[in-house]
């Protein structure tokens, strides 16, 4: 369960209505209305809008009156379905996917099983994608693809399908590139058998 303590706040006098903040918000919770940015209460506090507003310095983070909690209880959905979805994305349910929000593959799978079909919906359901995005994007894309989502249209600035896993590497390419690939592929496959 992710605790969200801060929310974006716009200084209307400084805002130029340039819409840069809109473009970097994965949850669509900051929008320019009548040439001024307006923040929705659903904001997850990723601070991208603050960071990109460095010419105007019109957006700051302020404490929420009460923290907001974000998460999906994996026990609310069928465990077999969770395991199956994770397996198709080459993950085990207990594996960490988002190291920022501390979100497991199982929690993401549960949110998808409950209906999340976009990056925005997954963010609201689990808190993923609000931090560094360095590790979580490909596994999330893999899981969404299992459910037939076109990940190039799943919303926001993440527009490119990068789900190519070890198991998808063409045999010819595997043989061409040295350094233990076949050995690691066997290890990776074995490491995903039967565990949680």
């Amino acid at each position: 369960m992710l605790q969200v303590k801060f929310i974006a706040h716009v200084d209307r006098a400084k805002c130029s209505g340039c819409k840069l903040c809109e473009k970097v918000c994965l949850t669509d919770t900051i929008k320019v209305v009548n040439k001024v940015a307006v923040v929705d209460d659903d904001c997850l506090g990723c601070t991208r809008c603050v960071d990109i507003c460095w010419h105007d310095e019109a957006v700051v983070m302020v404490p929420r009156p009460t923290p907001r909690y974000v998460g999906t209880d994996v026990n609310e959905v069928d465990a077999e379905q969770v395991r199956g979805l994770c397996a198709q994305a080459h993950r085990l349910p207990g594996e960490l996917v988002c190291v920022c929000a501390n979100t497991s593959a199982g929690e993401i799978a549960a949110a998808i099983i409950k209906g999340a079909r976009s990056f925005k919906e997954l963010s609201f359901a689990t808190g993923v994608l609000q931090g560094c995005q360095e590790f979580c994007v490909p596994p999330i894309q893999r899981m969404l693809k299992v459910k037939g989502v076109d990940v190039t249209k799943a919303g926001g600035f993440l527009k490119y399908d990068q789900t190519l896993s070890m198991w998808d590497i063409p045999k010819a390419a595997q043989e061409r590139f040295e350094y233990h690939f076949a050995e690691d592929l066997a290890l990776a496959t074995k490491s995903r058998e039967g565990g949680e």
Binding site: V4, M61, E134, F135, V137, S165, A173, H180, D184
Partner: protein
């Protein structure tokens, strides 16, 4: 061999860090230092240690570029000098900036090309590149509008490779030619493991967010073929002019290597780093108890002591140079059977005087008793979406002395080591310095014994000659 503490290199001011601290770890009473070449005399000596050495960087760049064929560049062409903001963190950024400035000057003079643009890749933040460009005088040198940053969510461009399709950043490749202007500093060895280290930018700094993430999924001893595949793609090769690369050792910047053949540069990096940084790695591995003090203008993982970044101490529990070991951290398609064993139990407590936000590190502070210096640092991390929960796990102290006293008591050791950006020496407490001095001979024996194996695993023999840019008189003998 124990010497007085040495002032660490300056770093660029940033919106991603707290106000620069008046007191650095090196200012602590009784702090000392150990010179890396006192520990390991055969480490390649530096040509740059401080700002007065900048002319040596310009000369070395000119000398290296003199041997590079630039005939493909015509006066009417456009040239992108592709670089990465991480270079601005190496010894304060001045040497990398000087190399970037010299590349522009030499290419302009040799080819008559006027449309030379500097492109600076950033990790995440929208201000990272601009901060470095402004503070290091790069726009002033390249011309208004000709030194700009790019980030992982900028417009992508598909790159078809022998492996599959990856996505680069269009602004790296939107010129007739690009020059790969890079560096070789030793960080994330547990990820690249000296397999194609100088190719890494093609899947990271020059790539879209989605593609960067993909690299982290692959096992790190075999997965580094991905950036090699991108480099070898027709799309990249049609635009690639040559590489100019800032070379380092734990002693500092050792020279500039330029070549169209990136594989040759790779071999030289492997050769030198396995020997020189290999000793520093093994020295860090030998530490059985310590309190690191993080005190630099960068993210936690990437601030060095004696040229080697903190992450190498943090994840130094397995032999990351031995390619028979499949398990190291952050390569997620192989599930680690003992992931909790990755973080170093020798770290007994952590003091953070200053560092940047933006990279997940809450887990580190949950693992180790941690003191932050200053309420401003705590407030900064409280708003960091990459490290939620960090502040609930740490102590906040008013001064560095208070934090250090608390950490020593909590850790039960007075062995302090400062990660403050230093090359050439390690600032540390006297007890730590004496420990490192005691351990060095054993480390030398170990590395001398292991080096032929590490080289062989990477297809090299111990007799591989040194890079041509280095005078023979400065060259140590590979065991």
């Amino acid at each position: 061999m124990l010497k007085p503490a040495v002032p660490p290199p300056p770093f660029i001011k940033s919106a991603y860090g707290p106000a620069p601290r008046a007191q650095r770890a090196a200012d602590l009473p009784s702090f000392a230092s150990v010179a890396v070449r006192d520990l390991f005399p055969d480490i390649v000596p530096a040509i740059y240690r401080e700002e007065v050495d900048l002319p040596a960087i310009r000369q070395a760049t000119e000398r290296a570029l003199a041997g590079v064929d630039m005939s493909m560049i015509r006066p009417g062409d456009t040239v992108n000098v592709a670089s990465c903001e991480h270079g601005f963190s190496i010894m304060g950024g001045r040497p990398y900036a000087e190399m970037l400035k010299t590349i522009r000057d030499v290419v302009r003079e040799r080819t008559g090309c006027e449309k030379i643009r500097l492109r600076v890749g950033s990790w995440q933040g929208y201000r990272e590149a601009a901060e470095g460009i402004a503070q290091l005088g790069l726009e002033a040198h390249y011309g208004k509008g000709r030194a700009t940053g790019f980030g992982p969510t900028d417009k992508g461009v598909p790159i078809e490779t022998a492996v599959g399709t990856f996505y680069g950043i269009q602004r790296v490749y939107d010129a007739t030619w690009f020059i790969h202007a890079y560096y070789d500093d030793a960080r994330e060895i547990y990820l690249h493991r000296y397999t194609f280290r100088p190719f890494k930018a093609f899947m990271m700094a020059y790539a879209r967010q989605e593609t960067r993430g993909l690299l982290h999924m692959y096992p790190n001893r075999s997965g580094n073929f991905l950036h090699k595949a991108v480099f070898e793609s027709p799309f990249v090769q049609q635009r690639y002019a040559f590489t100019c690369l800032l070379r380092s050792s734990p002693d500092g910047i050792t020279g500039i290597e330029a070549n169209r053949d990136l594989y040759e540069i790779n071999r030289h990096i492997i050769r030198d780093h396995l020997r020189d940084y290999g000793k520093m790695l093994k020295l860090f591995e030998s530490i059985d108890e310590c309190v690191p003090i993080i005190d630099g203008g960068r993210w936690l993982f990437y601030i060095p002591a004696g040229g080697l970044t903190f992450c190498e101490l943090l994840y130094g529990t397995r032999d990351n140079l031995d390619l028979t070991n499949p398990y190291t951290t952050a390569a997620w398609d192989i599930r680690d059977p003992d992931i909790m064993a990755l973080t170093n139990p020798a770290i007994r407590a952590l003091v953070i005087n200053q560092m940047w936000r933006g990279i997940p590190c809450a887990g580190i502070t949950w693992r180790y008793p941690t003191a932050l210096v200053g309420q401003d640092l705590t407030d900064m991390f409280d708003q960091d979406a990459s490290s939620p929960g960090l502040v609930s796990a740490v102590m906040t102290m008013d001064t560095l002395e208070q934090a250090v006293d608390w950490a020593k008591q909590t850790a039960g050791t007075d062995r302090l080591i400062a990660f403050d950006g230093s090359f050439g020496h390690i600032n540390c407490s006297p007890s730590m310095g004496e420990y490192l001095i005691r351990k060095a001979p054993e480390v030398i024996r170990k590395v001398d014994a292991e080096l032929p194996k590490w080289l062989k695993q990477r297809g090299l023999s111990p007799e591989i000659p040194p890079p041509s840019f280095r005078p023979a008189s400065e060259e140590a003998t590979v065991a």
